[in-house]
Amino acid sequence: MLKQIGASALFAGLAAGVLAALLQLWFVVPLLLEAELYESGARAHFTDGYVGSDAGAPPLGDALGRHMGTLAINIVGWIGFGFVLAAGFALAARRGVAVDARRGLLWGLGGFTAVALAPSFGLPPELPGTVAAEITERQTWWAFTVVATALGLALMAFGRGPAWLAGGIAMIAAPHLIGAPHLDRYFGAAAPELAALFSTRALGVSAAAWAFLGLAAGWIWSREAQRA
């Protein structure tokens, strides 16, 4: 059991972390670097005689050490997601549900829904320079939403009968009925186009990496199960 969990989590998590970092560096980090030009005041929006602001990101090559940090943290985080996912596989196996690559893909999409899509519904991925509510309040709501959504999805997937389904929907809805912490003013300095593209790209990269993590972890899981 430990070997099966460890192999799925480590190999799939490592590969998913590298994939996520590469996709982030290609599609998301340039927008992040561009936003820092607004954050530092090097670029400004809606100044006197406004005729739009320049578009274009600084080159990635100017901060290679910084991007190695992004790679390292992604690997750590995605191996973490891999362990939680594989622990879920093991719980499912105890209930007689076998996981393979295809079912792993569904688990991965569930992970995306719980860890990226649901919290983003209340707290969109933040462009650097975003002024937002108190960090601990946002982290608390974020973590509560992730746990409630994951449990809600599990109730819907594994529960028997309409009461479990209704309970699952209620758990997924609850954080949004309570509402995420927000300020009562807007402070955005960067172009709204940039913030919107940043949020959708961050979600898209998460979707790709979660799908890959689930597929790869499920594939390794079923191979290890055949060996055991």
């Binding site: 059991m1 430990l2 969990i5 460890g6 989590a9 996520a20 970092a21 982030q24 998301v28 980090v29 992040l32 910084r66 991007h67 940090g69 992004t70 390292a72 943290i73 992604n74 750590v76 985080g77 191996i79 973490g80 997601f81 891999g82 362990f83 939680v84 996912l85 594989a86 622990a87 093991a90 719980l91 105890r94 990226a116 919290p119 983003s120 707290l123 969109p124 991925p125 933040e126 462009l127 650097p128 937002a132 960090i135 946002r138 982290q139 974020w142 961050a202 979600l203 990269v205 998460s206």
Partner: protein
């Protein structure tokens, strides 16, 4: 009786293994996504923003 004991201790160690894996995973996620210890915030800054974790 012996068989039952072995079976239940096997189930117990399975649960312990699953719990260990989940706690290890959550610890790694906390380090990557939430921790402000040492230089963690600076190193993790870009990946936290890009993954949608609340950062500042």
């Amino acid at each position: 009786m012996t068989t039952k004991t072995i079976a239940s201790s096997g189930a117990l160690s399975d649960i312990a293994t699953i719990a260990f894996a989940a706690v290890l995973g959550l610890g790694l996620i906390f380090a990557a996504g939430f921790s402000h210890a040492g230089g963690m915030h600076d190193v993790a800054h870009d990946s936290r923003h890009a993954t949608g974790f609340p950062c500042h």
